[in-house]
């Protein structure tokens, strides 16, 4: 019973994380993790990253007919 509850909790946490990634909530976390691993420069602030990400995303076709 406890194992099932634990598995269910794990699944729900995965689902929640998937939803956060899909809608963009987790984008900054991923960016900070990547910067920490790959770059010596300090990361952008959340607000700077958000604006930069929006500018980049909407400069190429990203919504279809």
């Amino acid at each position: 019973m406890r194992a099932t509850a634990k598995r269910l909790k794990g699944r729900l946490a995965e689902l929640w994380q998937g939803l956060r990634e899909w809608c963009g909530d987790a984008a900054y976390e991923k960016y900070v993790q990547c910067t920490a691993r790959r770059s010596a420069e300090p990361p952008l602030t959340p607000a700077e990253f958000y604006v930069e990400q929006m500018d980049r995303k909407y400069s190429r076709p990203n919504r279809c007919c």
């Binding site: 909530d25 900054y28 900070v32 790959r38 607000a47 958000y50 929006m54 995303k57 990203n62 279809c64």
Partner: protein
């Protein structure tokens, strides 16, 4: 034993698909239940995915999971971000699913339910999914290069220019025609106009929230936004009931067209975080919710499909748009079966986020199957209403007559009984003054959706709320296509004019931004305006033009894919992309020829222009309307020229590609493949 069971299960699914397809194809006389459509589509998709996509993955593309993808090699946390395959499937689907798979099948329902449904299922399995999957694979192997870049590298420089011009052309025509769909849905409807207008301040509010209050907290902002929009849908009824407010929001087609043009300009020129991005978030949430609800509603209600399998309009004289099944059914239903525009998504964002090459099958092929399923749902919603009502909503006044009585008499005369009282009653039930002459697909789809939703929740009492929810949902994400497309178009224009004047090409120089925004908005705005003032309703001219442009782009994508596969030495399996290419070129060329040269004025642009000229010369046009008719003549000739240019472009690209293929096959030229070199993945299996 397990393997035998699995095989038996797949044989059962295939048998069920065949039985359901045979039922909807051979059924005659009585209405048929929508469950057959769901079964036919779902089982066919399962079989196509299990067998055909697996074959393409293994034999044609030879996907290699030991090879590092761009998201691994170039991970930067911005564009190149390794993403879980289910999340990326959601991203990709949200990007490719626009109004096309909803509007196209609704319009094509005038032929009856059968041609459109079969094309949606077969077209997706053998053409649309193949295009999306193969282009995604090609782009993954090239660090996420765009279709234009791949065309330039792998076909020729001229091929690259053709692809870029095709993208710009389709963008302009697409934006003009989707804007026309909104205008036809909103005109003379204060409730719908108010609701959609309210989405602008709501989006601005969310933009400020996401930028300054809680940066990047998209989910909570979207939940607030969706709640506000739902309130706006309900508040729209109060506006419609108030004579003073209703008068302010009751707008004609031309006024709405100019309002949309002004909106497009603002969305293109304003900072993207202020209006465009928050609207897109709202649209994504509402789109996902509405599509899921429609599928659930159809499964729960299991409505009867009242439209016959084939209508009398297979003869080419349909009131919604003129032209026979071949080629116009395949031009009208673009996005639910195959859409060239998808190749821009498959070669843009998605390949930079994919974790493993094998995920391309699920994301590229699978997401397109789901989009096709949305198209089948739209077909069911349109065909579940009484055929007479469907034709009354979608036919222009110039064909059925301007009054409810005249329209009812004409449509009943065609063999699809409907009364003026039915149309008036239905309009009142959904909170509208009239539902007549609303060509464009959106209102009839909204009526179909509202009938399905209200059968599940609320009954007749909530029909008007559901109708306006459906209109808001369609209009909201059409507006998202409009503003995102205008902005991308602006970048393309800036890239082009930047070659003449460097400052105009700078993306942060405001005069350049304003000029290029005005150019792109002016271009699609012109098509929108001509559609609004067209006596035949606009959709008759513009939707086929959009379909031709979209299928042209699909042909470009498949030509590029075929060239790459030939260079990879996959001659044995080349028919996988070559056959859909031949089919697309055939329908695009036939439709282009007919749209330009057909002697039927409702089909041929030139014969319509000539017939109108003759009417003016014979004095049959009232003096007050002569100037307007001269504009119509000019517009028809312009449409003929645009169609000819589009057809010419595909011919030039084809000649380029066939010459190239001949050189590759005759070994006259050593094929140079521009793939990024193989790098082994550092990720463990299952990462």
């Amino acid at each position: 034993m397990k393997r035998v069971l699995k095989t038996l299960l797949w044989i059962a699914v295939a048998a069920l698909a065949a039985a359901a397809l045979a039922t909807i194809a051979l059924h005659r006389g009585e209405p048929i239940n929508a469950t057959w459509f769901v079964l036919a589509a779902a089982c066919s998709y399962l079989v196509a995915y299990r067998l055909y996509s697996a074959f393409i993955a293994a034999k044609l593309l030879a996907l290699d999971n030991s090879r590092a993808t761009p998201s691994e090699r170039r991970e930067d946390g911005r564009d190149f971000v390794p993403t879980n395959k289910w999340v990326l499937f959601g991203h990709h689907f949200a990007a490719i699913a626009g109004p096309g798979p909803l509007v196209g099948p609704t319009l094509a329902a005038q032929f009856g339910y059968l041609p459109g449904t079969l094309w949606l299922i077969a077209g997706a399995a053998f053409a649309g999914c193949v295009q999306d999957f193969v282009i995604l694979f090609c782009s993954i192997r090239r660090d996420g290069k765009t279709l234009g870049e791949m065309a330039r590298q792998e076909v020729s420089k001229r091929g690259g220019v053709m692809a870029q011009l095709a993208v710009l052309a389709i963008m302009i025509i697409l934006l003009g025609v989707v804007a026309l769909v909104i205008v036809n849905a909103l005109k003379s409807s204060p409730w719908a106009t108010f609701t959609l207008a309210m989405t602008i301040p709501i989006a601005l509010l969310l933009g400020i929230y996401l930028r300054f209050v809680r940066p990047g907290r998209v989910m909570e902002a979207s939940i607030i936004g969706v709640a506000l929009i739902m309130f706006a849908v309900v508040a729209g009824q109060w506006v419609a009931d108030s004579p003073a407010l209703a008068a302010k929001f009751t707008l004609g087609g031309v006024t709405l067209a100019f309002a949309l043009i002004a909106y497009g300009f603002a969305a293109s020129a304003l900072p993207v975080w202020l209006l465009l991005a928050p609207r897109d978030y709202l649209s994504a949430f509402i789109k996902a919710g509405a599509i899921f609800s429609l599928a659930a509603g159809i499964l729960l209600v299991r409505p009867q499909v009242l439209m016959p399998p084939l209508t009398r309009f297979v003869d080419g004289n349909g009131p919604v748009f003129a032209g026979k099944i071949f080629p116009f059914c395949f031009i009208t239903i673009a996005c639910g079966a195959i859409s060239g525009f998808h190749s821009l998504i498959s070669s843009g964002t998605t390949p930079k986020m994919i974790q493993r090459e094998s995920h391309a099958r699920f994301i590229g092929y699978g997401a397109m199957l789901l989009e096709s399923f949305v198209g089948v749902m739209a077909m069911v919603a349109a065909c579940a209403m009484t055929p007479g009502v469907y034709f009354a909503i979608n036919s222009p006044a110039s064909i059925v007559g301007p009054t409810p009585e005249a329209a009812a008499q004409t449509i009943t005369g065609w063999g699809y009984p409907v009364s003026a009282a039915t149309m008036t009653g239905l309009a009142h039930a959904v909170g509208e003054q009239t539902l007549l002459n609303r060509a464009g697909g959106a209102p009839s789809l909204a009526v179909g959706m509202a009938q399905i939703f209200s059968s599940t929740i609320g009954g007749e009492r909530l029909l008007s709320i559901w109708y306006h929810f459906a209109i808001m949902f369609e209009a909201l994400f059409i507006l998202t296509v409009l503003d995102a497309g205008t902005r991308v178009g602006r970048f393309m224009v800036q890239e082009l004019v930047g070659r003449v004047s460097k400052p105009l090409g700078r993306m942060n120089w405001y005069p350049g931004i304003l000029l290029s925004s005005a150019l792109i908005v002016g271009a699609w705005g012109y098509f929108l305006y001509q559609g609004v003032v067209d006596p035949l309703g606009g959709i008759n001219s513009l939707w086929p033009l959009f379909g031709i442009a979209n299928q042209l782009l699909a042909a470009v994508a498949l030509v590029v894919a075929t060239t790459i596969l030939l260079k990879m030495g996959r001659l044995k399996w080349i028919w996988v992309t070559l056959l859909p290419t031949v089919w697309l070129v055939t329908i695009t060329m036939t439709a282009s020829y007919q749209k330009i040269f057909s002697s039927n004025p409702r089909i041929g642009f030139l014969s319509y222009a000539n017939a109108t000229t003759a009417q003016i010369a014979a004095g049959k046009i009232p003096a007050a309307k002569v100037a307007e008719m001269h504009r119509v003549i000019f517009n028809q000739r312009l449409d003929a020229a645009v169609t000819a240019v589009l057809a010419g472009m595909i011919l030039v690209l084809l000649v380029e590609a066939v010459t190239h293929w001949h050189a590759i096959l005759s070994r006259g030229r050593q094929p140079i493949l521009h793939e990024t070199p193989y790098v082994a993945t550092q990720w463990a299996e299952g990462d």
